[in-house]
């Protein structure tokens, strides 16, 4: 989460004081990401040093100081919005590793391990859905944040479902050996630490 770019985005609307930036940041993310006021001022100082925002210069750093975005700041913000985050290589996923390890531990039922995680994820999704049901209907920022979390958790449940089916099928029909000519793509897939 880039606090730096979130502050630039809030300043792109109009000049604002630090305290107001913090309030708007928290409200805009459905108050799911709390931000302390020290983080706001440290980030603003760095943005000012880099020429991306400028202050009215009156007084010390503090609640009375107003900040506005510069043309360089607007270019930086526009570039950041359009730069995809690094999703090109898979993260080292702890859950994937647990399922792979469960396959090798004698006396462990991998399907039971999968179900423990599936249940936990669905319970988490129930809590997010309750938040959506109770509070997000009239709070667009919160609804977007909750949807993102639900889709993320849902994708993990789907992976567990797919892994469950694949393992059941593999237990009844062992796969044929791969042809010798198959390229070894696996080694070329980088894994992020």
């Amino acid at each position: 989460m880039s606090v730096r770019h979130a502050l630039l985005a809030l300043l792109s609307e109009e000049p604002k004081y630090g305290l107001r930036l913090r309030e708007e940041f928290e409200a805009g993310t459905g108050e799911v990401w709390p931000l302390n006021v020290g983080q706001v001022y440290t980030t603003l100082q760095r943005l000012e040093r880099d020429g991306l925002v400028e202050s009215d210069g009156s007084g010390e750093d503090g609640p009375q100081k107003s900040f506005r975005i510069t043309p360089d700041g607007q270019r930086e913000l526009a570039g950041w919005l359009r730069t995809p985050p690094d999703l090109s290589s898979p993260p080292r996923d702890e859950l994937v590793i647990k399922v792979l390890v469960a396959l090798r531990v004698p006396g462990t039922d991998v399907h039971e391990v999968i179900q423990v995680h599936r249940r936990y994820l669905v319970e988490l999704m129930q809590q997010w859905t309750r938040l959506k049901e109770d509070e997000a209907e009239f709070d667009l920022g919160l609804a977007l944040v909750v949807d993102a979390e639900l889709f993320r958790l849902d994708s993990v449940v789907r992976w567990l479902d797919a892994a469950d089916s694949r393992l059941r099928r593999a237990a009844t029909e062992p796969p044929p050996p791969p042809p010798a000519s198959l390229p070894r793509l696996r080694r070329r897939i980088g894994v992020r630490p």
């Binding site: 319970e123 129930q126 109770d134």
Partner: protein, 242 residues
Amino acid sequence: MSVLELRGVSKVYGEGPARVRALQRVDLAVEAGALVAVMGPSGSGKSTLLTIAGSLEDPTSGEVLVCGTALSGMSRNQRARLRRRTIGYVFQDFNLLAGLSAAENVALPLELDGTSVRKARAAGMRALEELGLGERASRYPDELSGGERQRVAIARAVVGDRRLLLADEPSGALDSVNGEAVMRLIRAACRQGVAGVVVTHDAQLASWADRVVFLRDGRVADQTAPAAGPESLLTPSPGPGQ
């Protein structure tokens, strides 16, 4: 008293080598006002569970009770009356009659049950208005969007004095926004005292329920703990078994 109770319900289809055990000794109780999701992959028995709960099919063994009365002790007529008055069904493909308007579709179960056409239509209109479809009441199913058709189907399932709402993948063919709208309506019906059962393979849909039951090979394999409040999301959770 539970609105729906399944006691040791089993269902076997076919014989000999073709014998399939669709359900095996399933116990399930759903109280008034509760929404339960039954989650499982294709072939896990969840649709069979729903048709047996709705008295559309008989179990091979075990007992189904609706509002405390065992279905096995009912005559065909009594069961038909139960389906018209007490149980509402919502299916993935809506099952609306193409030749009837939205209002006529919603009023149909009441008319079949002997309510006068005028009273049935008035109740149907009220149900449609509550779901925000009052202005679409005279439209035919093929003049409605997928989301609107499913809302009509929900209005039909809750019209009158229904106690049990059974839904099979109710948002399966809809996009996520319309799917969410459908689940909000089902939750709203439950808040008014209806007992709801939704069967689905979709975790997002299931997460609207108070309790999620996981079905696997016709057996209840697991279920979620009573739902924690959303406030627990704001404190970091260690995850399972840590």
